[in-house]
Amino acid sequence: MVRFILNENIVETALPPGTVLLDLIRYHQHLMGTKIGCREGDCGACTILVGELKENHLEYQSMTSCLMPLANAAGKHIVTIEGINLPKGLNPVQQALAVSGGTQCGFCTPGFIMSMAGFCLSQKPATTQNAIAAIDGNICRCTGYKSIERAAVKVAELLKDRKKEDPAQFAAEQQILPAYFAGIRQRLFEMHNSNGAPVPVSADPAFFLAGGTDLYVQKHDEIPHASVRFLFDKPELNGIIKKGNKCILGPSVTVTDLKESTIINESFPAFQRYSKLVSSTPIRNMATIAGNFINASPIGDFTIFFLALDARVNFVSQGNPAKAGRTIPLRKLYRGYKILNKEADEFVSQIEFDLPGKNDLFHFEKVSKRTHLDIASVNSAITLSLDGDIIVNAGISAGGVGPIPLFLEKASRFLPGKSVSEELINDLIELIQTEISPISDARGTADYKRLLLRQLIKAHFITLFPKLELTKLVFSA
């Protein structure tokens, strides 16, 4: 049994916990406002809000219900478009979209409304920029988005008087959202106290499932019927902690968790820029870093990110939890295309890496056909430790240029002891060309990927060393 609040009502369902929430919403609860455009997380038509108690306060996030298992809804408040409708008339978010002409065929519209409602329920500053960021996972084929941008301006305006109050309270008081939102926090508390273990744990799972954003895309038909170990909502598997210069991530840490972490933002000043290039708001709210590692895509963004940082991965065996885990460097995890140095019953219990210090530089680059909400053609990350002008340690990684996410070992070994110059970079680029083996596919031809990686390596250095002479870099072949 999975129990949660759906809009105003408690729902208890005996459907397999691996069923996607979308199917429960549309075909069991007959709430038809949530639409299906792709079932792959790529269109946002199925966007819902998920409210969760976190240390006493209620936090809402948008998620794509097509990739979300029922298990991950347990004990939470799930909001569909029906749950934000006022009894009569339009709420001001809906009003904003309607008067701006932001709806034509209307099929994408509930998704946009939910994302905007999610913005109204989030703690983020009420800027237009943030309102637009909230809808970065919603695709509209009709409007060309300009009218939706105009609506976003109006929605941000709605929140301008919000001070420190709880966003859900504020939204309920201002009649932005229905009044029942004001009581949800209390109801979730009560629900938590009344039911202990919401989702059964299977002894011999066929799948580990975290956010589901990869697994459902690949194994959509299998999961509802398989035995699954759900990892997303285990408090013991969560959290970002700093120990000295080390940072430890629980495996259920999502991209959004990183994005909102002070530890991360202090150590990676450009982190907001990097993470904007990764999927979309609802996907980032679900996608875990461990899932990215284990999915083993050769272009996983955070795999590339953490390869450069020389992260370590700790595994624990599901069958034998008492057994001490083992830790291996991420750089040793990949043995071939989607072949991992990992037993089937092992799951990631912890990820650990060294935070960049004041003599360390870090940068991440990604280029895809569509700059946002797209998988990279090529991505790359770099860390450099400097002693004055001299590089003492280097780590360079690149995705999309081989069968696995590549740690560029030769290149990383080549740099220490040298000082940065245009010639060095050009030599490095030539060396890297010998380490990669891109193939032509939907994300680009092999030639393009080779050229693109050259460019991204240049981009790393141009960004990190603004004094470099551009012409010597840009125009070198």
Binding site: C43, V99, C105, F107, I139, C140, R141, Q455
Partner: protein, 772 residues
């Protein structure tokens, strides 16, 4: 009608899309939202994994033995004719002996759940003997694989004109296809009726096409088939002809099983099995005199039609109609081949072949400009159509081309824009800007003349409420809103008293699909006629009551006036009294635009009711390190006639522009050599997201008052704005050239970040050239 009236005018500034209320509340009903009848079964199509081959063996046994599977239908189960070709009967509903494209339907599984139907697909085994696969239209043409004989449009005599030209340029261009990517996938739901009838709910732009074709396949009369469409979650042409297949699939199962059957396609099924915008390859030759006047233009178009005709012949025709875009060229010879390949049959897509034709002449002009080292706009401007100029197909232009161009140049200060770009480019190494002007001209009407007809059925009820039924299908283009505005304005009543009904073949018969941008014109005009007729009759009733003549009766804001004096009757009373006097409150009106004709033998005539013109200025910035880019602005002057609904028309413009830019930039359809679609999901086929649209889109409506045969002089706006997007390709070229002047860039759209980067670094070159 006076302006002070609340109703009785169109209120173009203040009428929102009538569906917006239910849209934003998630209460609008689309195909997959229709409450299901108990006992509904679910269908799924088993389609060919091979692009061309002979079916040797089809083994359904294991699938049939699955618990929840009800039945599996194949070509043998078709009671009528296994044929769905609309223009040419060359496409089977279900492949019998041969398959002609990957994704061609072979069998239809029906099961008691959607999951079971999909699971059964995996248990079907097939053996196909592969035959040679053609994906390239030029190869198809060489092998004589043509859908129809080629057609040629001639004006003047190009052979004689070449010697007079000071410059002649030849070249080749390519435009790739485009996935419609309506967010609502294709689907249908069939329900058995008594006496062997079937109701088909279909997400279609052409309910009559579904009805007609289903009748043929099932061997039924058309009157036994009720096709009903509430609205589409986007169409863009993709559901004009290709929605029919799914409607018939469900109907076929219902026919045999006497059970409701539903099929709502998964996105990947939709992308794999349906056709797209036609890719084109073309050769061009253009000649200009010393003053940059184009004297002659020749073009040969190779249309990649896919495996069957579908709408390709009509699409090809429009390519020819629009081959000279917005320019007057005295000597033209344009030939088009519709080439049969082994791809899913390509189909209508906003612009309907027009954009593909216009791209080629724009490429030709750009090539001349690049050779002469001048901005293409100098050539474009010199050759814009004037009123009185002749199109290659004989129609005489009633042109707004110069008005739009001149207004754009002035309003947006072109010379300043250009100067700013030059300054930017001179002072930046890593970023370069490029600009392009894009004048457009698009003919309004179905080019199949007989399709230019529509009917509207208007009922006034005794409580004064009004219902309107037409053949128009609402798919976001706002046609229902416009039709409602017409009725409310004519009766001078609150728009909330008017209801636009679902599009239904039992209410309105023999309709043309909602396409060709002409839907609001045709159905709006028919509605206007019906409303005026009823208005006339009820005025007679009022005249009799108030002892005057109908001409002295007025209805103002739901009240009856006689001789300018308010009477005791309001609108509702008038409606009731009309009924009480046994006068009809209903009218079925028919409209067909006058004056359009076309002679296929001569390839001359007057095929369009009117043309829509406009000019856009597009500016882009390229990141020369990474090859990615952002559009700074699109500034447009658009010939809207007298816009009937500003919000709707603005939305069509903005949406069309972004869709056009998508086609020219990131939307890349990839088939492999075996004819398998590689860009088969939203993760591999990218359409614009909110961050990739131009930072600024300015649209200025040029209010032109000519009586253009448009409804309330409001010119059609569905397709033309997409054409502005073509400018994106040329702006990108110009930006690349600012970085790498020697780049030899093929005229090959879309200009993906990959192509940009490859062009930026095409040849080793010295820094001096890029910096100068």
């Amino acid at each position: 009608m006076s302006e002070s009236k609340k109703y009785g005018n169109l209120n173009p500034e203040s009428t929102p899309n009538i569906d917006s209320y239910t849209h934003v509340r998630g209460e609008s009903v689309y195909l997959d939202d229709i409450p299901m009848v108990s006992g509904t079964l679910f269908a799924a199509v088993f389609d060919s994994p091979i692009a061309h081959g002979k079916i040797k063996r089809l083994d359904l046994e294991e699938a049939l033995n699955m618990k929840e599977v009800v039945r599996i239908f194949t070509a043998k189960d078709v009671p009528g004719v296994n044929q769905i070709g609309g223009i040419i009967p060359d496409e089977e509903l279900l492949a019998e002996h041969h398959v002609y494209f990957c994704g061609m339907p072979i069998a239809l599984v029906v099961a008691i759940s959607e999951e079971a139907a999909k699971a059964a697909l995996k248990k079907i085994k097939i053996e196909i003997e592969p035959l040679p696969v053609i994906t390239d239209p030029r190869e198809a043409k060489e092998k004589g694989e043509l859908i129809i004989p080629p057609r040629t449009f001639n004006l003047g005599d190009t052979d004689n004109a070449w010697p007079a030209c000071a410059i002649i340029v030849e070249g080749r261009s390519e435009t790739n296809g485009q996935e419609h990517l309506y967010i609502e996938t294709q689907g249908a739901y069939a329900i058995p009726l008594e006496n062997g009838g079937i109701r088909i709910y279909s997400s279609t732009q052409g309910p009559t096409a579904v009805q007609r074709t289903a009748a043929r396949v099932l061997g039924l009369h058309m009157h036994q088939l009720e096709v009903d469409t509430t609205r589409l979650g986007g169409g863009f042409g993709g559901k004009e002809d290709q929605a029919t297949t799914w409607g018939i699939m469900c109907a076929l199962a219902t026919y045999h099983l006497k059970k409701p059957v539903k099929y709502s396609l998964h996105r990947m099924e939709d992308m794999r099995m349906t056709g797209k915008r036609h890719p084109y390859s073309a050769d061009f030759k253009i000649g200009l005199d010393r003053d940059l006047k184009i004297l002659a233009y020749e073009a040969t178009f190779y249309q990649n039609a896919g495996a069957a005709a579908d709408l390709s012949p009509a699409v090809m025709e429009r390519t020819l109609f629009h081959c000279t875009n917005s320019y007057f060229v005295p000597n033209v010879k344009a030939t088009a081949y519709s080439c049969r390949t082994h791809l899913p049959p390509n189909t209508a897509f906003r612009g309907f072949g027009g954009p593909q034709g216009m791209f080629v002449i724009e490429a030709a002009i750009a090539k001349v400009a690049e050779q002469l080292g001048i901005p293409a706009s100098e050539i474009q401007q010199k050759n814009l159509l004037n009123t009185g100029d002749e199109f290659p197909y004989g129609q005489i232009a009633d042109s707004e081309a110069n008005e739009c161009w001149n207004k754009a140049v002035k309003l947006y200060d072109l010379s300043k824009l250009r100067k700013d770009i030059d300054t930017f480019n001179a002072s930046n190494i890593l970023y370069k800007k490029g600009m392009a002007l894009m004048p457009i001209c698009f003919g309004i009407s179905f080019t199949k003349t007989f399709m230019n007809q529509a009917r509207s059925l208007v009922h006034v009820y005794t409580d004064g409420s009004v219902s309107v039924s037409t053949g128009a299908v609402e798919m976001g283009q706002g046609v229902n809103t416009k039709i409602l505005q017409v009725a409310a304005a004519i009766f001078s009543i609150d728009p909330s008293l008017v209801k636009i009904n679902t599009t239904n073949t039992w209410r309105i018969a023999n309709t043309s699909p909602s396409a060709a941008s002409a839907t609001a014109d045709l159905n709006g005009k028919a509605t206007e006629i019906a409303c005026l007729e009823i208005l006339h009759r009820i005025k007679m009733v009022a005249a009799e009551e108030f002892k005057t003549i109908p001409e002295k009766i007025e209805i103002i804001d739901e009240w009856v006036y006689a001789h300018g004096e308010k009477t005791a009757w309001d609108w509702r009373r008038l409606a009731f009294e009309t009924y009480a006097r046994r006068v009809s409150l209903s009218e079925l009106a028919h409209y067909t635009p006058p004056g359009i004709h076309y002679d296929l033998k001569k390839e001359k005539g007057h095929p369009f009711a009117y043309h829509v013109y406009g000019t856009a200025i597009l500016t882009v910035t390229i990141d020369c390190l990474r090859g990615i880019y952002e559009f700074d602005s699109v500034k447009v002057v658009h010939d809207a006639g007298s816009s009937m609904n500003h919000m709707v028309d603005m939305g069509q413009c903005e949406g069309g522009i972004v869709q056009g830019i998508g086609w020219m930039t990131m939307e890349e359809i990839v088939y492999d050599k075996e004819g398998r679609l590689r860009s088969n999901a939203l993760s591999t086929y990218k359409v614009p997201d909110i961050y990739s649209v131009p930072k600024q889109i300015d649209i200025h409506f040029l209010e032109t008052k000519k009586d253009s045969l448009a409804v309330f002089r409001s010119k059609a706006v569905g397709e033309p704005p997409l054409l502005y997007g073509l400018g994106a390709y040329f702006a990108l070229r110009n930006a690349i050239k600012a970085f790498n002047p020697s780049a030899d860039i093929p005229y090959d759209a879309p200009m993906t970040p990959e192509k940009v980067l490859m062009a930026l670094y095409q040849k080793k070159k010295l820094p001096e050239t890029a910096l100068s």
